[in-house]
C-alpha cells in the first residue's frame, strides 16, 4: 500500500487549478472547494459554466467546504458539478495501489450512488481536455424548489461551439442530472442539432429529441411526469 498522507500532501491531490503544459488540459485538484472553482480565473476563462454550476450547491458555507472531488465520488445524479462535467467530457484521475489511471466521467459513474473507485483508490483530479473546452460556451440550469439549500429536481448543462461565422452549431453537448440514476448525455438530441443552423427550428427539434434520451423516475421530490414536463420547458 501507499502512504495516503504523503499522497494527500503531495501535489497529486491538491486544491490547485492549472493548465497542463503538455496539452492545455484543465486540471482541477480533487480537494478544490466549490467556491475556489467558481472564483478561479482559469475556470472563469475556459469553463465558466462549471463555476456557475458549483455555485448553486447548498449555501456559501457548504461551498467553502465541499469539494469537486467529493461531489463526483459521491456518485449521485443530482450533483451540481456532474452534469457539467458530463457535458464537457471530463476525465477523472484516480490514484491507487496499482498506480494512476484516468477514466472518462461517464464510465466513472456506474449506478446510483456507486462510482468506479476501487479498493484503496482516491480521486486526485478532474481533467478537462483542451478540445473539450476550447471554443465552447455553456449554461447550467438547476431546477429546484428553492434558490438555496436545495437539491436539484432537475439539472441541465448544455454547451455549444459555433462555426466561425456563428451561423451553425458546430458541436452541441447536453447533459442532465436527476433525469436517470446517473447523470446522462443526450446522444440523439446532440446528433439532431450538430452541424445545423442556429435557428428556432433546430432548437425545437433538439428539445423534442431530448425527451427520447432521458428516463427520470418518480420520487418524493417530484413525479416522473413533472420532471419530463420540466425538461421540455
Amino acid at each position: 500500500m501507499y502512504d495516503i498522507k504523503a499522497l494527500y500532501e503531495a501535489e497529486s491531490v491538491s486544491h490547485a487549478i492549472r493548465l497542463l503544459e503538455e496539452d492545455g488540459t484543465l486540471r482541477i485538484g480533487s480537494i478544490t472547494s466549490f467556491s475556489h472553482v467558481t472564483k478561479h480565473p482559469l475556470v472563469q476563462r475556459h469553463m465558466r459554466v462549471l463555476g456557475e454550476a458549483v455555485d448553486k450547491v447548498g449555501g456559501p458555507q457548504i461551498r467553502n467546504i465541499g469539494t469537486i472531488g467529493g461531489n463526483t465520488c459521491n456518485g449521485v445524479t443530482s450533483a451540481d458539478s456532474a452534469s457539467t462535467l458530463f457535458a464537457y467530457d471530463a476525465l477523472v484521475e484516480l490514484a491507487g495501489p496499482d498506480g494512476v489511471r484516468t477514466v472518462p466521467i461517464h464510465e466513472f459513474y456506474l449506478k446510483a450512488g456507486c462510482v468506479d473507485l476501487r479498493l484503496g483508490e482516491i480521486e486526485t483530479a478532474v481533467l478537462i481536455p483542451k478540445a473539450s473546452y476550447e471554443g465552447y460556451a455553456g449554461h447550467y440550469i438547476k431546477y429546484a424548489m428553492r434558490n438555496a439549500m436545495d437539491i436539484a429536481t432537475l439539472g441541465c448543462s448544455v454547451n455549444v461551439k459555433l462555426s466561425d461565422d456563428k451561423e451553425y452549431l458546430e458541436d452541441v453537448r447536453i447533459a442532465y442530472g436527476v433525469a436517470g440514476p446517473v447523470p446522462l448525455r443526450c446522444p440523439a438530441a446532440e446528433r439532431a442539432a450538430r452541424g445545423k443552423k442556429a435557428a428556432d427550428e433546430t432548437y425545437r427539434r433538439f428539445a423534442e429529441e431530448v425527451l427520447k434520451d432521458i428516463h427520470p423516475r418518480d420520487s418524493w421530490r417530484a413525479s416522473k411526469a413533472f420532471r419530463v414536463s420540466s425538461t421540455n420547458s
Partner: protein, 90 residues
C-alpha cells in the same frame, strides 16, 4: 396528501423559503378600533399567517379557473391539478 382545508403532513417534505426566495414584501397597518377586544386591539400573529394561503389559492383560481383544495401550492401540485383541469397538454 391532505384533504381540503387542512395542512396535513407536509412538514417532512416542504422546504421553507429562505432569503434567496423571498419576494419583495411590504407590511401595511390599517389602524381601526376593534370593538370586541378590551383595548380596541387586534392580534398580529394569526391574521398574516392564516390569510395568505387562501388568498393565493383564490388568486390562482381567478387566474386559471382551477380551485385547489390542498397546500402547499407548489409546482408539483399545480402541475397535477392543471393537468386534471385541462390547462396542460401532456
Amino acid at each position: 396528501m391532505a384533504g381540503p382545508g387542512r395542512a396535513g403532513q407536509i412538514h417532512e417534505t416542504y422546504k421553507l423559503s429562505t432569503a434567496m426566495d423571498h419576494p419583495h414584501l411590504e407590511g401595511q397597518f390599517v389602524e381601526n378600533y376593534e370593538l370586541t377586544s378590551a383595548f380596541g386591539t387586534k392580534a398580529l400573529g394569526e391574521p398574516p399567517v392564516c390569510s395568505v394561503a387562501p388568498a393565493i389559492r383564490n388568486a390562482v383560481l381567478q387566474a386559471t379557473g382551477i380551485g385547489i383544495g390542498q397546500v402547499p401550492l407548489n409546482p408539483h401540485t399545480l402541475f397535477e391539478e392543471f393537468k386534471k383541469g385541462g390547462l396542460l397538454d401532456v
